[in-house]
């Protein structure tokens, strides 16, 4: 979220595609492999409509609107061949912590497989899961309408 906001500020100040290194969050182990590119993340959101798709309950199937979003993301990835994407799965606050990690990985894998089916080379896609450790809706909501159950396509170098 924070990266996205910073990205908007940069997008207004300079060229959209400028590759700006991001200072790692002080609370997350510094990453040597995955470096976010906020300006391109903003571009993905603008061109594909969203950088994320939502799920419900224990489900990991893709809805019609999720498929449309991912098709647009796949097109974006194909016209930006120099970047990779980290497919980050998140889960419901109502899952047990460990089940949430497994479900996040399963959802992220579903998204990766769909992107691959649309022609994105698998080597450009990395799958991970945050379980329920990075909620966007912190208080546990009613099961099934929780907006935390999502997969985010994060553009990385």
């Amino acid at each position: 979220m924070r990266g996205l906001i910073a990205g908007f500020a940069l997008a207004l100040a300079g060229p959209l595609a400028a590759q700006v290194p991001v200072a790692p969050s002080p609370y997350v182990a510094p990453s040597t492999d995955f470096i976010e590119i906020p300006a391109l993340q903003v571009d993905l959101v603008l061109k594909a409509g969203s950088d994320r798709v939502y799920f419900s309950g224990n489900d990991f199937g893709l809805t019609v609107s999720a498929r449309a979003t991912l098709a647009a993301q796949a097109r974006w990835l194909l016209v930006n061949p120099e970047v990779r994407a980290l497919i980050e799965g998140h889960s419901d606050q109502r899952d047990t912590r460990e089940h949430a990690l497994a479900i996040g990985e399963r959802r992220a894998t579903t998204v990766r497989d769909y992107l691959v089916s649309l022609g994105v080379p698998p080597v450009r896609l990395n799958v991970t899961s945050w379980g329920k450790e990075r909620p966007i809706q912190p208080a546990p909501g009613d099961y099934g309408i929780d907006r935390n159950a999502r997969v985010v396509t994060t553009i990385i170098r």
Partner: protein
């Protein structure tokens, strides 16, 4: 609850009432004391000769040990504790020869005596005894040598001996609780592994504030903690030495690993690994080697927990479509489902006695903590309609610790609940707390 405790105390001496009065500002209420629990009197421990040690005089330590024993026993609700303040002290010879008629007159059903003696080498000999005042019989005794600065641990060992004498159950006070200390905003929570004595003392952080760390599991010997950290944005099981903070990944490849669990002998560790949308449970020798895959069914198999004899494993799986509890043999054979119905079951933990499996159960009203047998029978909910999760057994097998998020803010706190039933009791931690793991009693 408080009213009942005060009513019960009105029957006792005025000195006892003064001792038990709860200050208005105190928010932690002593748990309700059920009918029929014994009145246990705990005077200050005696000392044969008052001597100064590195931790103070033996007389002062005698009072402090009695205070810790009293606090430990009060926390269980299994005893109506009087003392050590406002209870008459006694001389050294009365440690092993109490004047029972005198204690009987004061209202004691049970009496705890003991002594603190300074040794030549600077350490302390601590002895403690539990007597049935009515029958003038000794029910328990424990004696040991501790460093003067570790007198508190000695007190917990006394508490364990006395608790076992009172209840016939294993002790639980000389043990530690690992948990996740939480701070910061919800979307970027700082989560660190911390460990403390069972009574909340000796609190220390085990991991730093730079990585998100979750799900600690204390090794049977209490020296190591297995937990999951996010390394390079991916979950990874790591093992940390609690004495010096040295840590390393359980397996050193990039696979997504989480949900560790130690075998009762400490020689093997179970964990979940997610590969291509499928999460299975694996076993690995602590010293290394090749992981052995125990589950192969498509779905998410997580939260393994060994039976105390090491022969079986209970785990959570959604292979049926919703999360449920399953039991298998330690080699992965004989997998069978033990929870049924429309509810979601998770986070199973096998009890130290082997009789029970604790779990969290989510239904339309929320989630609560419960227990059932390994055959899936005699299910009983201990908490309901909250968002409770993550149960872990006290070494006594009579109590569970779990975390409860505040329904409005999602902020977690630790609570205990007796398996016999009763109100959950808040466990105070310096920061918000989740994912508790209660160690075995230390050897």
């Amino acid at each position: 609850m408080l009213k009942f405790a005060l009513l019960a105390l009105a029957l006792l001496s005025s000195a006892a009432i003064a001792q038990e009065a709860v200050p208005a500002s105190q928010t932690i209420v002593v748990p309700p004391v059920g009918k029929g629990v014994p009145t246990v009197m705990i005077p200050p421990l005696a000392t044969p000769t008052v001597k100064d040690t590195s931790a103070g005089s033996t007389a002062t330590i005698g009072l402090q040990v009695a205070q810790v024993i009293a606090a430990d026993l009060r926390s269980t609700g299994n005893a109506l504790v009087i003392g050590p303040d406002n209870v008459r002290s006694y001389a050294y010879p009365e440690v092993t020869g109490p004047l029972f008629s005198s204690w009987r007159t004061l209202g004691a059903k049970m009496l705890v005596t003991g002594f603190v003696q300074a040794r030549q080498d600077g350490r302390l000999t601590v002895g403690c005894y539990l007597y049935d005042v009515g029958t003038a019989r000794e029910l328990a005794r424990k004696g040991f040598v501790v460093d003067a600065d570790e007198w508190r641990r000695g007190a917990h060992r006394c508490s364990d001996a006395i608790y076992t004498g009172l209840t016939d159950k294993p002790g639980m006070f000389d043990s530690r609780i690992a948990y996740v200390a939480e701070s910061g905003p919800a979307w970027e929570r700082i989560k660190r592994i911390a460990i403390m004595d069972a009574d909340g003392s000796n609190h220390q952080f085990v991991t730093g504030a730079t990585a998100t760390a979750i799900g600690p599991q204390v090794s049977p010997d209490g020296d190591h903690i297995a937990y999951t950290a996010f390394v390079n944005r991916s979950p990874q099981v790591r093992i940390v030495d609690t004495s010096n903070g040295a840590e390393q990944p359980l397996i050193s490849n990039a696979a997504m690993t989480f949900s560790p669990a130690f075998a009762p002998d400490g020689q093997r560790i179970l964990f979940s690994m997610a590969v291509n949308g499928n999460t299975d449970i694996y076993a690995l020798a602590v010293g290394g080697g090749t992981p052995q895959r125990l589950t192969v069914t498509p779905g998410a198999d997580t939260n393994p927990s060994f039976s105390p004899d090491g022969k079986q494993i209970v785990f959570e799986s959604d292979r049926s479509g919703s999360p449920q509890l399953y039991v298998m043999n330690a080699d992965g054979s004989g997998q069978r489902r033990i929870s049924f119905g429309g509810n979601r079951y998770g986070a199973p933990a096998w009890s130290p006695s082997g009789d029970w499996i604790a779990f969290s159960r989510a239904d339309a009203g929320g989630s609560g903590i419960g227990i059932m047998t390994a055959a899936g029978t005699d299910e009983k909910l201990l908490t309901q309609n909250g968002l409770d999760d993550g149960p872990s057994w006290a070494p006594s097998g009579q109590m569970l610790i779990f975390h409860r998020p505040d329904p409005a803010t999602g902020r977690n706190a630790l609570y205990t609940v007796p398996i016999a039933g009763g109100d959950p009791r808040r466990v105070l931690t310096p920061q918000d707390g989740s994912d508790p793991s209660w160690s075995a009693v230390q050897q």
